[in-house]
Point group: C2
Chain length 245, copies 2
Amino acid sequence: MGAPSTTALRPLQRSRLYEDVGERLAEFVSEARMTVGDQFPPERDLARQLHVSRTSVRQSFVVLQALGFVDVRHGEGVFLRRTRGFGDSLTKLLERRRRLPDVLEAREALEVKLAELAARHRSADDLRAMNAALGQMGAEIAAGGVGTEGDAAFHHAIALAARNEILLHLIEAMAEVIQESRIESLSEPGRPLRSLEAHHRILAAIESGNREGAAEAMRQHLRVVADVSLLRWQPEPADDVDAAD
Amino acid sequence: MGAPSTTALRPLQRSRLYEDVGERLAEFVSEARMTVGDQFPPERDLARQLHVSRTSVRQSFVVLQALGFVDVRHGEGVFLRRTRGFGDSLTKLLERRRRLPDVLEAREALEVKLAELAARHRSADDLRAMNAALGQMGAEIAAGGVGTEGDAAFHHAIALAARNEILLHLIEAMAEVIQESRIESLSEPGRPLRSLEAHHRILAAIESGNREGAAEAMRQHLRVVADVSLLRWQPEPADDVDAAD
DNA sequence: CATTGTCAATGGTTGGACCACTGGACCTGT
DNA sequence: ACAGGTCCAGTGGTCCAACCATTGACAATG
């Protein structure tokens, strides 16, 4: 461990072949000016031209199909299904820190709606879960913690109470990034208690079935959270050139 | 075509092998009580037990990795990354018609926020695109059409103007299903013109930078659309038993 | 002209071979 | 004993060659 941390000796990471192939295919789509519905060259040709096995090409297409970018039809060929964001799946997008403002805005869009729906659909069990989460958060804070677990549990309970699988899926896809901003926010002095109070207001609105009130309480809460997160946030210099916009 | 339509002779459709393997793996995860971080059996073993080639098993894992469910580590093995919704990706969720209310609610959550952001960030180019879309929609209607293309172009232009890649990605993931409801809605007598008027109100708010007004105009517009769609909507009986809820 | 049969093109699957990486067992000199 | 190095079995990564299954077009047939 005594050696200086050099740039040259950083761990070299080899990407998987099918990932590289996927990138080339993305390049090809734009170079060849392909539009939705167009057909790709046969797998065998692509394999020959890229100097990889057909297996690797196929793995790429399997992934691209799973992500909804292409349409693989037995006996016909492979077809382009949508162009936008061919290279960046949601996961990849979320990995970039400099997207934090985007994430916070998206979170607000989803959670405000979730709170509104929760106020409409909440059951006795849902309310119990939310209460338990707040109890947990209080206990965490009393024990000297910042209450991240209780916080996460509360928001999750609301998402479940909203009874909307699509929204639940979307918010869960962003769970990891949201967790990061949550930790930042709750580490601010005085924040845990203030957040806990905001949560109680949200819960009260949901419990009484006040949809607009629940939505508004959630919006206020998230704006504060976002504000704190953004203060600590330093945008990274763009590591790639996405000139097109 | 004179033969009676029998149940037995319906076209049999084979799913892809790696999809079946994926389902088995999902079953395995729950049967084996696997939790996050646990390791899967080696690919070779799985291939032998499932009576498929190792290639097919690998294709499954490649897809599962792309969807974020597993972690494939060269030289080590394959590990479970998250349990939630192993079986149902967003795509699969969206394929189910009986989720229409969920889709419409999710759409409202996203598009209302997009309108608000568009009112803040719109450039001259954005406004031109929106105007062009409304022109196209008007032309379609004048030509006897219902204006679906112009409608789609308008909403897309707003999504672009919002300058939020995450939200853009989310709304695009739902583009297909939204298009279906769009067609239904605009097929209603008198709807195309009424929609066009609503669009003009939204555009006016965005153009003047009135964030709250843009959000509210969009909300009103979508509530009408949702209302009409829901009237025609017939929930399908559950085709699967998801008892857990 | 409609129907049927044939066939080339293309994706789907297989089994086996070999390479690359990881982690632990084992050896070795001190 | 211990630190260090070596070796090796296990595991994922890639390739190849062959064959199966499906599709669409075209020729042969009536």
